[in-house]
Amino acid sequence: MILFENVTKFYPPNTNALDNFSLEIKPGEFLSVVGQSGTGKTTMVKLLIGEEKATKGKILVGDWDITNVRPREIPYLRRQIGVIFQDFKLLPAKTLFENVAFAMQVCGHIPSKINLVVPQVLKLVGLEKKIWRYPNEVSGGEQQRAVIARALVHHPKILLADEPTGNLDSINAADIINLLEKINKFGTTVILVTHNKEIVNSLRRRVVTIDAGRVISDQKIGKYIL
């Protein structure tokens, strides 16, 4: 479970990116978070991965109160939350295999386990034939698949996707959403932050709409209402 309880994030001089924001996400949910630019969606993501700290309120991830997470605990938090970004954030000097393996290496996994798991997750996302390619040698959709594979190697309970289709054409975007749904079926909570109206409407899942740092709409089977 993820819980935001009356969270406020203030940026000087006078901006409340989140303003008394409350949201509860149950384990295994597939949730779309929508809202116009500057409404606080990315701030929510940053708070969840410990990139920013809340000015007020409380944030729980499972039983873990991450409101004032200590810097040395952040790596452990990030190993539990898989994150996917619009700009992929792959290491350009590493192959797709190495990019995915890197996420396991930083956790101290032994080489034999890495060599076993990495090809499996790359196969799961359909990249088994391109594991030794560098990011600039594959398409945007394939790069995003590699990012999803990287996020999955930790077996995260939560997968946070911040505009994962923003740089992709509609076919690749649909593929990525299908992949996210598939991952959700295995029990992983998926939080999809997006602007894409078609995707949100086609999902027929819970939709939370944010405006001015507050939740203005929370529909169980929702639509893009902005």
Binding site: I74, K89, L90, A93, A103, V106, G108
Partner: protein, 305 residues
């Protein structure tokens, strides 16, 4: 687990060095140029020390003795002179040796040679030549020599000219050392800044990579360590390269220096061989330290998120 982490850190450092070859090459090149400058400074310092030393060796103080001075009196005086603090050598120059030296020095001066022939006998007196250990010791030695009045064998001793010359020389050498110190300081400060900046630029190119490392849950240590290992690798390669470049350079320089300073005692290659560990070892440690500090600061800036 620790060994596995260390092995991975080294692997990432080497991988990064190879895959960002041009950035690595530029950083090592800047390091090599900086170390070359530092070594050149060592050469300049060595030359100036040798120049001062060669002048020092040419200064001696002569006590002219009576022509009929007894050998035992001369020996007693020699022993007394040798016991003066700061004296490194006292040598006896006989009448014949003095004449021989005078004739050889003035071989081309016909009028002097003619005058000597007219005198018909050796007009020069024997002498004791005193050499001090260092330039700074001459003042003390002259003061001690001035007090030597009881010896009847001494005919003359006037060191006023020497005193003035030595004072000028002391001033010049002290200034030279001050200037060298100042130049060294400026040079090293510039070198530190250049290397510091080069490393920071190299790490700036990795800022996105550091962000990704943080994102996938790498600890700060795991992010920093490959950069620190790479910093040491830069320093190691830099010192190896500068050694390979600098030795041929000083081999070429050596013959010109000898003739320029008019002394055979200049042995630049020997000096570098004799001080190899201290010169290149200190350069490696210094470069590593600068690189590590620069890397730590630069990486630290990007690992905050």
């Amino acid at each position: 687990m620790i060994l596995l982490s260390i092995a991975r850190v080294l692997k990432f450092a080497l991988q990064d060095f190879g895959r960002n070859f041009w950035v690595s090459l530029v950083t090592v090149t800047i390091l090599v140029l900086s170390l070359f400058s530092v070594n050149f400074l060592v050469v300049v310092d060595y030359i100036s020390q040798q120049a001062i030393k060669s002048v020092e060796e040419k200064i001696d103080l002569s006590l002219y003795l009576n022509a009929d001075a007894a050998e035992e009196d001369i020996s007693a005086l020699k022993r007394e002179l040798e016991s003066i603090a700061g004296v490194v050598e006292v040598s006896y120059v006989s009448k014949a040796q003095a004449l021989e030296s005078f004739q050889s020095k003035n071989r081309d001066n016909q009028s002097l040679q003619e005058a000597l022939r007219e005198v018909g006998k050796n007009p020069l007196n024997p002498s004791l030549v005193v050499q001090a250990k260092e330039l700074a010791d001459y003042e003390t030695v002259i003061n001690s020599l001035d007090k030597l009045s009881k010896h009847a064998v001494i005919e003359s001793k006037n060191f006023d000219d020497h005193r003035n010359l030595l004072q000028s020389m002391n001033t010049i050498t002290a200034r030279t050392r001050q200037i060298m110190l100042l130049v060294s300081f400026i040079f090293i400060a510039v070198t530190v800044l250049v290397v510091f900046n080069a490393v920071r630029i190299a790490i700036y190119t990795h800022r996105k990579e550091i962000g990704v490392m943080k994102l996938v849950g790498a600890s700060n240590w795991f992010i920093r360590a490959p950069f620190l290992a790479e910093a040491i690798l830069y320093s190691f390669l830099g010192v190896i390269a500068v050694t390979a470049i600098f030795y041929p350079f000083i081999h070429l320089l050596q013959p010109y220096l000898g003739s320029f300073l008019n002394t055979a005692s200049v042995d630049l290659v020997g000096y570098f061989n004799g001080h190899f560990i201290i010169i290149f070892g200190v350069e490696f440690l210094g470069a590593s330290l600068i690189n590590i500090i620069a890397s730590s600061i630069a990486v630290g800036k990007y690992v905050k998120v």
